[in-house]
């Protein structure tokens, strides 16, 4: 529950949370197409809050939190973040913008022997390193696998190559980072794309405006593809 300070009671354009990183350029491009002024955002990399432009920029994994709590009205975020945040009905997921595609994959050291499979066969349980414990747990549960999840913050490839864990679950874009670390994908858990999300109170009170924006953003995303 957040007191929302840059809202004037829902007057004006919805405040949007924009993820830095891989989706940043696509997100800003779509917002420009939907009528947001992104010029100062593009030239001010360190600034996080653009009051007049009604834009905030942040780490992708924080977008869901800012929107669910109501500090921002809407946000652009990967489906993976929504799944991992487990914020449930505190968020509306409005539109699949279809950019920022990536997949959540299980990877292990390359070679004939899959250490995850080997551990499951011989020990009944595999050790998995990940930044995404909830996704990993859901996958393991849904496929009847027993895993010990080791939650890590940094680059998780090291966990698999150093022997800390049998494998890793991580987001994969091109697969190059995996290959450079001598890892291979053994399974794809699911694929993820960018979504437009909305705070439930904002969506209740500015529904028509947000629906209009959703169409404009979707249109801009389609044009860019």
């Amino acid at each position: 529950m957040t007191r929302r300070r840059i809202h004037a009671g829902g007057v004006g354009r919805p405040v949007v949370a924009v993820p830095k990183g891989a989706m940043y350029q696509d997100a800003l491009h779509c917002l420009t197409g939907a009528g947001y002024d992104t010029n100062s955002v593009l030239v001010n990399e360190r600034k996080q809050l653009f009051v007049d432009e009604r834009i905030m920029t942040m780490r992708p994994s924080d977008v869901a939190t800012y929107v669910a709590e109501g500090a921002a009205d809407i946000g652009i975020v990967g489906k993976d973040v929504i799944v991992e945040s487990a914020l449930g009905t505190s968020l509306y997921e409005l539109v699949d913008l279809k950019f920022g595609g990536c997949r959540m994959s299980l990877a292990t050291i390359a070679g004939d022997r899959d250490p995850v499979w080997d551990s499951m066969q011989r020990l009944g349980v595999a050790r998995i390193g990940t930044k995404y414990p909830r996704s990993t747990f859901q996958w393991a549960e849904a496929t009847g696998r027993s895993v010990d999840i080791i939650e890590l913050k940094g680059s998780v490839e090291l966990a698999a190559v150093s022997g800390l864990t049998d494998g890793i679950v991580d987001l994969v874009d091109t697969g190059r980072t995996l290959a450079e670390n001598g890892l291979v994908e053994r399974a794809q858990l699911w694929t993820s794309t960018a979504r437009l999300i909305a705070n439930p109170v904002s969506y209740a009170q500015q529904g028509a405006e947000i629906d209009r924006l959703a169409s404009a953003l979707e249109h801009a995303a389609k044009e860019r593809r």
């Binding site: 529950m1 929302r4 709590e69 968020l91 997921e93 539109v95 439930p200 529904g207």
Partner: protein, 337 residues
């Protein structure tokens, strides 16, 4: 360790006094409308709470008494009130107008604003069916909110039977029907659209049905929205339109109709609503009709109720102060964040 568990807290005199100022006008308005205050114990038998909707009000704290029976800290107030009406008040004639100011216990993760113990103020109107019953409940709610001088809140109003009726009327087959309802409950409108599109591509849903279902999920507005509506949507929204037409202006000016609103609690059977305030990111509370719940206690009675979280009302009043101040600010002087 000298501390309280996460999600519960002490309240000191200033906060207590401010909270009392929030509660007092509610008591006055509800009593003027003929509602009587009641108390139920914080401890209930688990088997009694389970007569409600176990999935969404699942009690988080269980105790075993000296006889080996399982007790729970109540996770909802409607169920205890229903229990009383079906037992202690079984000889009395309906309608029953009851209200409470009570603490409720949930096991939610300790996210900000989701404590394990919170104060609920709520009212239950049992034995008054239909939209007239719902309006009789909304009256004192709106007057209470006016008397604490909460401005700019809105009442998001929906009907839990609307989408099931729409999908049935359009002969949408299972499992598509259940999948669509699930996406509404989880508020995944992107997923909702994907299911509609897939059903259309597979030939189990006509193009016009697909467009209508997609339109219904985005149908939101005030009374005037009904005038331009597709007759089939207007048909399934008839209860909401009737309710709004019969409502007086004090209620009507706060209401936003939302065809896609579904409340999480599974015992709702008709009109449902949520109270929203622009300064707070989550609903202040809500309620709705639960015409089937009392039958589970052996006393079938149509009923409706609301519950608001007092701590959030208190926060909303503070936010109102801030919002009014913000309005006076010019665009060039950004407020601190």
């Amino acid at each position: 360790m000298i501390a309280t568990p996460a999600g519960v807290r002490d309240m000191l005199p200033q906060e207590m006094a401010e909270v009392a100022d929030v509660v007092r006008p509610f008591r006055h308005e509800l009593e003027s409308a003929g509602f009587g205050e009641m108390h139920t114990p914080a401890l209930e038998f688990e088997s009694v709470m389970a007569l409600g909707d176990v999935e969404s009000t699942e009690p988080a704290f269980r105790l075993i008494d000296e006889m080996g029976r399982t007790l729970v800290l109540r996770s909802d107030m409607t169920i205890p009130v229903a229990r009383v009406v079906a037992t202690r008040l079984r000889e009395d004639d309906p309608p029953f107008r009851l209200y409470y100011v009570s603490h409720v216990y949930r096991g939610q993760p300790s996210r900000a604003g989701h404590p394990r113990e919170f104060l609920q103020i709520g009212a239950e109107l049992m034995g008054r069916p239909g939209t007239s019953g719902t309006l009789e409940l909304l009256g004192p709610l709106v007057r209470s909110l006016a008397s604490i001088q909460l401005e700019r809140y809105s009442i998001l109003l929906g009907d839990t039977t609307l989408f099931p009726r729409l999908l049935e009327g359009l002969e949408v087959p299972e499992p598509t029907r259940s999948e669509l309802l699930h996406e509404l409950v989880t508020r995944d409108l992107a997923g909702f659209r994907r299911i509609v599109e897939t059903a259309h591509e597979q030939g189990v849903m006509s193009e016009s049905a697909a467009a209508l279902i997609q339109e219904a999920a985005h149908t939101r507005g005030n009374l005037s929205l009904f005038e331009d509506l597709d007759p089939r949507l207007r048909g399934v929204g008839e209860t909401l339109e009737t309710l709004l037409r019969s409502a007086d202006e004090d209620i009507r000016r706060h209401v936003i109709v939302d065809f896609a609103l579904v409340r999480k609690l599974g015992y709702y059977t008709g009109e449902v609503f949520e109270i929203h305030h622009p300064g707070i990111g989550e609903p202040l509370g809500g309620g709705g009709r639960y015409d089937g719940l009392l039958a589970r206690f052996g006393r079938p009675l149509a009923a409706t109720g609301f519950g608001l979280t007092v701590e959030r009302l208190h926060e909303a009043l503070r936010a109102d102060d801030d919002l009014l101040k913000n309005e006076l600010r010019t665009g060039s002087a950004p407020p601190a964040i």
